[in-house]
C-alpha cells in the first residue's frame, strides 16, 4: 500500500472516530449533562493507548503488532486527542493554577508530538540528500579525524610554503571551526552561507600561495566541506533524537498531573453532591 493511500485510509478512520466522539458529546449536551466528564475519560483512554506505545517497544520479542502499526495509531490518536482536548477545555484558558499547569503540560505534549512528527518526516530525506549519511555515534570520531588532518596540513604548509599564510588562517578561523559542531542554526534553516563564506575566504588566500600551497588549500577546503556535512548531520540527527527528550518527560509529567486532576474532580464533585 502506498503511503498516500494509507494516509487516506487512516485519515478517514480518524474522522469517523472524531465524528462519533462529537456525536457522543452532543448527546451529553442534549441530555443536559456535563460533557467534560465524558471528554475527560476519552482523553484518559487516548493517553493510555498513546503512552502504551513506549511499553510495546520494550517487548520486541512478543507478537504485539508491528511498531509501524503502533506508530500510525499513535499519530492519528494524537490528532484525535488534540481535538478531544479542545472539546474538554474549550477555547478559553483555565483560570486555576493547577488546571493551568495541566493545560500547559497537555498542550506542550501534543505540540512536541506534532513537531516530532514533522521532524521525523522532514529530516531523513534532508540527511540523505545532503551528503554521506553517517552514524550519529561516529560523528565525533570523524570530526576529530578531520581536525587532525587539517592541523597537519596547516603545519606542513609552513615548511613547504616557507610562509605562515595557511597556518595563520587555520589558527584564526579553522581551528575553532573544527573544534566542535558549528553553525547549527544555519543548518537548521538549510542555509549554506557560513560554508560558502569559509570557502570563499580560503580561496581568497590563493593569490598569496604557491602552486603547492594552492593544492594544500584545496585539500583543506575538501575537509571544510566534509566537516560542514558532519555539522549538518549533527544538527538534524540531534534534533531527531532530541525532541523525544521533551516528549517523553512531558508524557510522564502530564500523566501524573492528570491523575491528581481526576482525583480532585471526583473529590469536589462528591463534596458538591
Amino acid at each position: 500500500m502506498t503511503f498516500a493511500r494509507r494516509r487516506l485510509r487512516n485519515g478517514a478512520i480518524a474522522l469517523l472516530v472524531l465524528a462519533a466522539a462529537g456525536a457522543a458529546v452532543w448527546a451529553q449536551y442534549l441530555a443536559l449533562r456535563d460533557p467534560a466528564i465524558l471528554t475527560g475519560w476519552m482523553l484518559v483512554a487516548a493517553f493510555a493507548v498513546l503512552a502504551s506505545y513506549n511499553v510495546r517497544k520494550k517487548f520486541p520479542f512478543l507478537p504485539l503488532l508491528s511498531s509501524a502499526a503502533w506508530m500510525q495509531t499513535h499519530i492519528y490518536l494524537g490528532l484525535l486527542a488534540a481535538a478531544v482536548f479542545l472539546m474538554h477545555v474549550g477555547v478559553e484558558l483555565p483560570n486555576g493554577v493547577f488546571e493551568s499547569v495541566l493545560w500547559v503540560l497537555t498542550a506542550a505534549l501534543l505540540l512536541t508530538g506534532f513537531v516530532g512528527l514533522a521532524i521525523t518526516r522532514l529530516a531523513p530525506p534532508a540527511l540523505t540528500h545532503h551528503g554521506e549519511r553517517l552514524l550519529f555515534e561516529r560523528i565525533p570520531v570523524l570530526r576529530a579525524q578531520l581536525a587532525e588532518e587539517v592541523h597537519d596540513l596547516a603545519l606542513r604548509s609552513v615548511e613547504t610554503e616557507a610562509s605562515t599564510t595557511l597556518a595563520d588562517y587555520y589558527h584564526t578561523r579553522l581551528h575553532s571551526f573544527f573544534a566542535r559542531p558549528r553553525n547549527l542554526l544555519a543548518h537548521l534553516v538549510a542555509s549554506e552561507r557560513p560554508r560558502s563564506k569559509l570557502c570563499r575566504e580560503l580561496r581568497t588566500l590563493d593569490r598569496y600561495l604557491s602552486e603547492q600551497g594552492r593544492e594544500t588549500r584545496e585539500a583543506i577546503e575538501d575537509r571544510v566541506l566534509a566537516k560542514d556535512n558532519l555539522d549538518f548531520q549533527v544538527t538534524w540527527q540531534g534534533l531527531l533524537k532530541g525532541w523525544l527528550f521533551l516528549h517523553i518527560p512531558l508524557t510522564y509529567a502530564t500523566a501524573l498531573v492528570a491523575i491528581v486532576h481526576i482525583g480532585l474532580v471526583y473529590a469536589f464533585q462528591a463534596a458538591l453532591q
Binding site: F61, S66, A68, M71, P124, T128, H129, L240
Partner: protein, 582 residues
Amino acid sequence: MASGTAIARPRRWDEPFGGATMAETDVERVLGQPVFAAIDQERFPASQPLPEILRNDGRVVRFDPGDVIVREGDYGNSVFVVLSGSVSAVLDSTTDAELGRRTHAGRRSMWQALKQLWANNREPEARDIQRYFHGRGDMGVRGTNSHAQSYIAELSGFLARHTTASLGPGETFGEIAALARQPRTATVVATEATEVVELRWQGLRDIRKRDRGFRDHVDGLYRERRLAQQLEESPLFAHLSPETLAEIAHQTSFETHGSVEWFRDYKQVKARDPSAVVEHEPVIAEEGSYLDGLMLIVSGFCRVSERLGHGHRTVSYVSRNNVFGLAEICAHHWHGEPLTVRRSLRGVGSVDVLRIPTGLVERHVLPNLPADQLPPLPARAEETQEASEPDTEAQAVRTDTDLGLPQDLVDFFVDQRTINGTATMLIDTNRCTGCDDCIRACASTHDNNPRFKRHGPIHDGIQVTNACMHCADPVCMIGCPTGAIHRHASGPVVIDDATCIGCGTCAESCPYDNISMVEIRGQDGGFVIDQEANEPIQKATKCDLCYDQLGGPACQRACPHDALIRVDMRDTETLADWISRT
C-alpha cells in the same frame, strides 16, 4: 615510471586443493579407478595434463568408521570417489539433532519469549558453557579448525535407524552438489576405514570439458539422480507427466558459467567501473544470436540486458527456476517469428543452466502451459522497427525495467549482488530517523547482542544494510568443518553456536562481510579461554532472521517508520511495491 615489485604471475595451481599436492603414488591409484582409467589422456593439453589436474585439484582423504563425510543440507563444491573401504549414504533424512546441532526446531513458547525481558545476559556474547558438553547425542568432533572431523559414536545404532545405500571402491557421490551447486541431498558416513578422493569443482569442470566419456558418466549420474526432479521444481514443467519429464531430461544439456568461487573476487568486481562490470560477466546468450533452446536457471543469478549505445542496459535479473527465452519461443511457435535472442543473458557469479531443446518445449510445454505462466510476447520485429523509427532518442533514455524498479536501482542490486538475498535488509534512508529501535530489538532477541550493523552501501535512498541476507547461494556454508552453519528447516541460514568451533571459514567466505567472529564469555562475564592455546575462544555470529522468535524478524517489526524491510530479492513484486510506496 615508479618502480614496482616483480613477482611470478599467479597461476592456476598456486593453491592446490587442501593446501598440498597429492602424492605421486596416490595420483597413480586414483588414475587406476575405473572412472578415471577410461579417460583419454591425449585430449588434455600439455599445460593441463590429467595427472596434474588430479594432483592439484584432488586430495585423498582418509576416514575412520563413523566419520561424517558430507551432511545432508551442507553446501559443497566437490565430488567424491571411493578408493577403498565403504561408505553409507542415508536415503531417508537425518535430523539436526542427529548431526549434533542444537538449534531450536520451532519457535519459542510465549513464556520463553517473554523470559527474554529479564533473562538476557548483561555481558556481551555470554554463553552457557555447560551447554557445549551436553546434548550432542551420538555426534563427536575431533581436531580443530579446518582439520576438525565430525563422527558418529554409535554408528551401528545410527545405521539401524536409517535406510542407507552402501557405496564401495570406484563409486561416486556428491556429484549433484558439485555440478548443480545444490545442497547435499544425503548424509554420507564411512562405515569402515575408508579412503576417498575428493575432486574440487575446477578439476571436475576441466575433466568434463576434455573427456566426453567422463562427462557422460558424471552427467549421467546427475541426470539419473536429480535432473528430472529439478525440471519438475520449475512451475513451467510441473504439469508434465514423469515420462515426458524423463524424455526432456534425457535431451537436456547442463552448462556451468562463471566461477563457482565468485565470492573470492567479488570485492575486485565491486571496485570496477560500472560499465566494465557487465563486460566481465560471462555471456550465456547474446542479444541478436540464434536461440537454440529454453534456458532454465538451476542455480546462481543472471543479468538480463539490452544493448544501448556502447553499453548494456540492465532490464531484469533472473535466478533459480526462472527461464530465459520463453517469450522468443512462444513468438516463434505462434507467430512464426525468427528464433533470435532479444536480450542478453549474463552470469553474475556462478550460474548453472539447463538448456532444453526448443522442439521439446514446443511439443510438450507450450500446448498445455497454464495461461498465468505465459510470458508477455515481445513486440514483432516490424512493429519494433516502426515504433522506434520516429523517436529513437526516447528509446535511448528509457529508465524503466521489467521489474517495475528504476533501472539504476536494478543495476545497483545486480552489481552489488544483493540479488543473492532471500531476506535482504533494505532501509529506506528517506524514512529512517536513525532511532536504532531495530538494533535494540535485535539485541533484545539475541541475548543483548545485536546481530547486524546499520550501515552499508546506499543508492538513491535505499541502503543495503550489513545484515545476513540468507543467500539463495550461501557460499558461507561451503567448508564448515562441523556443519555448524546450515540452512534451518524454516529457510534462514543459521549457526549452531554449540557446534561452531570458531575456525572463521564462514566469516572469510561471506562476500558481504555479514558474519562476525566474537570472543565469547562465560556466565561470570570473563572470557572463555582455550586451555591449550591460552587464547579466547571465538564463535561465528550473524543474523538468524529471528527464526525461533514469535512474530518473525524483530528488526522489521520494530521499525516505527516503515523504513526497514527483509525482502526476498526474487520476489520482485513485493520489492517494487516497497520501493514505490511514496
